[in-house]
């Protein structure tokens, strides 16, 4: 069994809703992430899926301390990050990087590709001068770009190439752990596979650990070892990719899987879809009890009042975590 690299316990991230201009009173909290726990082993890819607004990106950012969590603990390689500050935190950040969704918004248009990739090397005082230039060229080659591109600007590149630049920047500091926040959602179908393959190759070569955040269940299944499903600020189910797709337990996971279109008309004709009614409720005022009860096709009375417990319904060596009263 590989060692645990990241341990997240009861992580909460609330954003205050304020009223007033001069004197701001807090009137409510948006509970974007409301108590999630999971671990990631070294070299593993954990997929985090959910619909927009479920808190999956916020979870990624709170882990990296880009948002300071409201409560809970994030242990990276045994060290608690939530209480860390200043230089100490910066040193840890060298080991944790992020790849963003929008390759158009996440690269500074006024910097050359070379200086974008070199910036983390300067900030963390890793290398300078000729050594730095060589490292930039090496990184460009690593992500499948021409080293000569270092002199160019982001607007000269396509979406897929820009995403490669973003990956090179993340790799510059030799991180152990990368949060991939919807890294392929903005790309065309034929380009997505190129980037996913690159991420998988780099993982092997550099022994990286990924948290792969996405709404595309087919892609998450393809790339992940284990998958966590989020709904309205909570993880409702977590297990290995195979069990999750073959024997989903939570009614939300079941509905989500059944909603994904499969590019095969013969299968589509026969498929029975679970169509969820209504929309996702507001995280400002989430439903009492189980948060999914307002849309759940198998809702029971207890679901409306009592929050389901997060427990392992699988075995010790094949864990299957779920939060649902159906398995009480």
């Amino acid at each position: 069994m590989a060692e645990t690299l990241l341990e997240v316990k009861d992580l909460k991230m609330y954003f205050p809703v304020t009223r007033g201009i001069v004197i701001q009173r807090k009137v409510a909290d948006v509970k974007a992430v409301d108590g999630v726990s999971f671990t990631i082993k070294r070299g593993e890819t954990l997929g985090l899926v959910g619909e927009s607004g479920c808190g999956k990106s916020t979870t990624g950012r709170a882990i990296l301390q880009l948002y300071r969590p409201t409560a809970g603990s994030v242990k990276f390689d045994g060290k608690e990050l939530t209480t860390m500050k200043g230089e100490e935190l910066r040193r840890q950040r060298r080991r944790m990087q992020m790849i963003f969704q929008d390759p158009y918004a996440s690269l500074n248009p006024r910097m050359t590709v070379g200086s974008i990739i070199a910036e983390p090397l300067e900030i963390h005082k890793i290398s300078s001068g000729k050594e730095k230039q060589e490292r930039v060229q090496e990184l460009l080659r690593l992500v499948g770009l021409n080293p000569y591109f270092a002199q160019r600007y982001p607007h000269e590149f396509s979406g897929g190439q820009r995403q490669r630049i973003g990956i090179a920047r993340a790799l510059a500091v030799n991180p152990d752990f990368i949060v991939c926040d919807e890294p392929i959602s903005a790309l065309d179908v034929s380009i997505q596979a190129q980037i996913v393959n690159l991420l998988q190759d780099l993982q092997q070569e550099l022994k990286l650990t990924y948290l792969f955040i996405a709404h595309d269940l087919s892609m998450v299944r393809h790339i992940s070892d284990r998958v966590a499903v989020m709904y309205l600020g909570k993880i409702v189910e977590l297990t290995d990719y195979k069990t999750l797709y073959d024997e989903p337990k939570h009614p939300y996971t079941q509905a989500l899987l059944s909603a994904v279109p499969i590019p095969d008309p013969a299968i589509e004709e026969k498929r029975q879809r679970i169509i969820l009614q209504g929309d996702v409720p507001s995280p400002l005022n989430p439903p009492a009890g189980c948060r999914f009860h307002t849309r759940c096709p198998r809702v029971m009375d207890v679901c409306r009042h009592v929050e389901p417990e997060w427990k392992n319904v699988g075995t010790a060596d094949r864990e299957h975590w779920v939060a649902c009263h159906l398995y009480d």
Binding site: E51, S52, S158, G160, Q161, D188, V189, S190, I191, Q192, A193, Q194, V196, N197, Q200, H215, L217, S218, M219, R221, H222, Y241, K242, Y245, A255, L256, L257, S258, A259, V260, P261, I262, P263, D264, P265, A266, I267, E268, E269, R271, R273, I275, L276, D279, V280
Partner: protein
């Protein structure tokens, strides 16, 4: 089935500072009554522009429809007067778009927006129009329709706004509904709701649908026939089963292989299509897909293959389609 719409040799260009963008080149197809046609392509493939051109919704300038005919109801829509095309738009041919927030007017209630078309096209008075609007909203599954009529677009969620758009689209009983990526901005469970609704309405109303998407999965369960576009041209057209099970064009095959399937074995790697889509300003002289094609031969670089009927129901533009077909029909299923 009778042909409802016939597009012949459509060509649309955009005249920009950087040069002439060949957005749509030589696009021809037919749409039968009550049929659902899927048009699949990536960004820049010309799928949206080719359909917007049908009802002359191309911003001019910089765009211009430079050639072709669009036969509907016994006349060429590209030749009729502006007044006549307005009678067709929203009335006989309706459209729903990807982003319902930007296609609804934020300062008018949705009631005002639905009744406008009813009064304009069908000559209803205010009371009739309002009653019909309630009916339409109920038909698309908006709860409490009579009160929601006085709400503004921002008071609806994304999925509900798309339902409103569909209600507006269907308000004048169109013969054709054009859907331009209507579920792309929606979450997967909401997308399933909308597709389910469209299927139900199709049964009930019987309109023909042109559904534009980049997602091969979405049209697999929805369309009767699928057109694949690349670089502003149609590269393949086939009945839905043929296209997915026996693609003849290397691009279609490549697309099917590059997406992971939820139901497939967890294989090691995806097979991407290498390279980048063509530059529509500076198109290669041969086949637009040649620079990325794994089946390329010398001829592909110099001569663009014509889109030919290879059977009574399918067309393909590839010099090597016969070899592709032999491979596919010989039981090969990637």
């Amino acid at each position: 089935m009778a042909t409802l719409l016939e597009v012949k040799g459509l060509e649309t260009k955009f005249f920009t500072h950087e040069g002439v963008v060949h957005a749509v080149t030589d696009v021809s197809y037919k749409l039968d009554e009550g049929e659902t046609l899927g048009i699949v392509g990536e960004s820049g493939s010309g799928k949206s522009v080719s359909v917007l051109s049908l009802i002359r919704l191309i911003p001019q300038p910089p765009g211009k429809i430079t050639g072709g005919e669009v036969w509907f109801d016994g006349r060429d829509l590209l030749k009729v007067s502006d007044e006549e095309i307005r009678q067709v738009r929203g009335n006989r041919i309706a459209m729903i778009f990807q982003d319902p927030m930007t296609s609804l007017n934020p300062v008018l209630t949705i009631g005002q927006q639905i009744t406008e078309a009813l009064e304009l096209h069908l000559g209803m008075d205010k009371r009739q129009a309002r009653a019909r609007a309630v009916e339409l909203l109920e038909m698309v599954g908006i709860p409490d329709a009579a009160t929601r009529l006085d709400d503004y677009p921002h008071q609806f969620s994304g999925g509900m706004r798309q339902r409103v758009m569909i209600a507006m689209g269907l308000s004048c009983n169109p013969q054709i509904l054009i859907a331009d990526e209507p579920t792309t901005a929606l979450d997967v469970t909401i997308q399933a709701q909308i597709i389910d609704l469209v299927k139900e309405l199709r049964e009930k109303v019987g309109m023909a649908i042109i559904w534009i998407t980049h997602d091969l999965g979405v049209v697999a369960g929805l369309a009767n026939r699928v057109i694949v576009m690349y670089g502003g041209r149609i590269v393949e057209e086939a009945r839905v089963h043929d296209l997915y099970h026996r693609p003849y064009h290397p691009y279609t095959l490549g697309l099917l292989h590059s997406v992971p399937r939820l139901d497939a074995a967890h294989t090691g790697r995806l097979i991407p299509i290498d390279g980048l889509p063509p530059d529509l300003i500076d198109m290669p002289p041969g086949c637009p897909f040649a620079p990325r094609c794994t089946f390329k031969i010398e001829r592909c670089d110099v001569e663009n293959p014509p889109l030919e009927y290879v059977s009574s129901t399918r067309r393909v533009a590839c010099w090597r389609w016969e070899e592709m077909a032999a491979r596919q029909d010989g039981g090969f299923r990637g």
